[in-house]
Symmetry: C2
Subunit: 232 residues, 2 copies
DNA sequence: CGGCATCTTTGCGCTGGCGCAATAAACAAA
DNA sequence: TTTGTTTATTGCGCCAGCGCAAAGATGCCG
């Protein structure tokens, strides 16, 4: 992984998409690379945001934790996505934690550097707006699902979204390409691991999914979609 | 309301905050004023986003509706806030509808004009990023509440947020300064109007709130806060 | 290969809050 | 005032899904 290839990678991230080559080169010179092992924390909830990253390889989980230790998963981040957006919009604390699910390779900058680039290049500031607009939209949809749908539908929607985001074709069907426990699914769907487990067991019986320990493979996505859309 | 005072108003909006006077004047010249009566739709879900507004006076409700007619309230908008953000980040359809709750006075621009200003002035693009970052953050908090808290706490949090956003001191306590039905509260808290009604009745008995038809006054905010924070 | 930690499954009982339905109150129009 | 419309209240029964608990499966690491 040399500097030249980093420039190419940066040009494909949501943050620097569309930037001219000289800007990408400048951005590359100001960057550093960093690796995190599975389970390591990249960002801790409450910390002051000092660094911005983009994901090169690997998968990250963004969570928010309450005082009494309950967690929700805000989203997963994959290649090309931004980690630590709070540093881009002068938040004074990270609203959530980010943990590596896989072994990850990130490229990072100090917050000041990226903020400076944003103010000198409106294109980058516009990219940030687009990124946050997209995440805001995602949350609107999830909020609506959580408010109006029953658990089974919510779990179905959650899995379909993950398939969209990180699905990998296999012999048995489409596999979600990172380790994903029942607890994780519960924290994304607003339910408990017990209910997720029961639901997946029922689906497995019908041949809709094929799961293992921290592994989910969707065999009949058509059926899953119909569960996600059914009324009542 | 002459052009000069419009410039002052614009300088205080979240979208144009910090802009130099000449830019504000340019923005003002490209703008038009528009009024909406209570109940009128400013934006309809699914429409292509062609116009951006900022609120001068009045209150607006942003909702998202499912195919089968169920609604959730995404947020309320008040003076200084942006209406129709999708037009700023090239969404191809408005993700929700916006309805006037009061009689409203807005200032608007065609999407192309504001997008052009964003690309010529990174400050404005950065403001957009900040706005969307703030809304994204709000949604994270609400999603967490909806996932982890029981109804009574959620309703308490919802009311406290509205008080924060649109509270007005009165003799009886702090009043939410726009008409707000039980149904509205239900659509913000992820429950039914029945449960909201029962909960408010119980609180009224304890003297915590004092409500009427589409009206909520918080008499003992301390007690309401303790309900919002209590464990279990 | 065995021991340990983590993750998953499943039975059972309980309850928060939903859904229905009927009444009452507030407001607007005429 | 009457009439109609929208909004709010409240009783009652029910059930989806939570919480507990205990056993079972899987994979890791020494």
């Amino acid at each position: 992984m040399d500097d030249q290839s980093d420039v190419e990678v940066l040009g494909r991230t949501e943050l620097f998409r569309g930037a001219p080559l000289d800007l990408l080169a400048e951005v590359q010179r100001a960057s550093f690379r960093k690796r995190f092992a599975a389970g390591e924390a990249i960002v801790r909830q409450g910390d002051p945001p000092a660094t911005v990253y983009v994901v090169v390889v690997g998968r990250l989980r963004v969570t928010q934790t309450t005082l009494d230790g309950q967690q929700v998963i805000i989203r997963y981040l994959g290649p090309g996505e931004v980690v630590g957006y709070a540093a881009l919009v002068d938040g004074d604390a990270h609203p959530g934690s980010v943990i590596a699910v896989d072994d990850c390779h990130l490229i990072g900058w100090s917050a000041a550097v990226v903020r400076d680039i944003m103010s000198r290049h409106s294109l980058i500031a516009i990219n940030v707006a687009r990124i946050l607009g997209g995440r805001y939209l995602d949350m609107q949809v999830r909020l609506r699902e959580l408010s109006t749908e029953k658990v089974e539908r919510r779990i179905a929607h959650t899995i379909l979204r993950l398939v969209e985001q990180a699905g990998r074709r296999t012999a048995r069907g489409i596999e979600i390409a990172f380790p994903l426990s029942r607890q994780d699914l519960a924290e994304m769907s607003g339910t408990t691991l017990h209910t997720v487990s029961r639901t997946l067991s029922a689906w497995e019986e019908r041949g809709i999914v094929d799961c293992g320990r921290r592994r989910v493979v969707v065999a009949k996505s058509q059926l899953l979609e119909s569960i996600a859309e059914e009324q009542a």
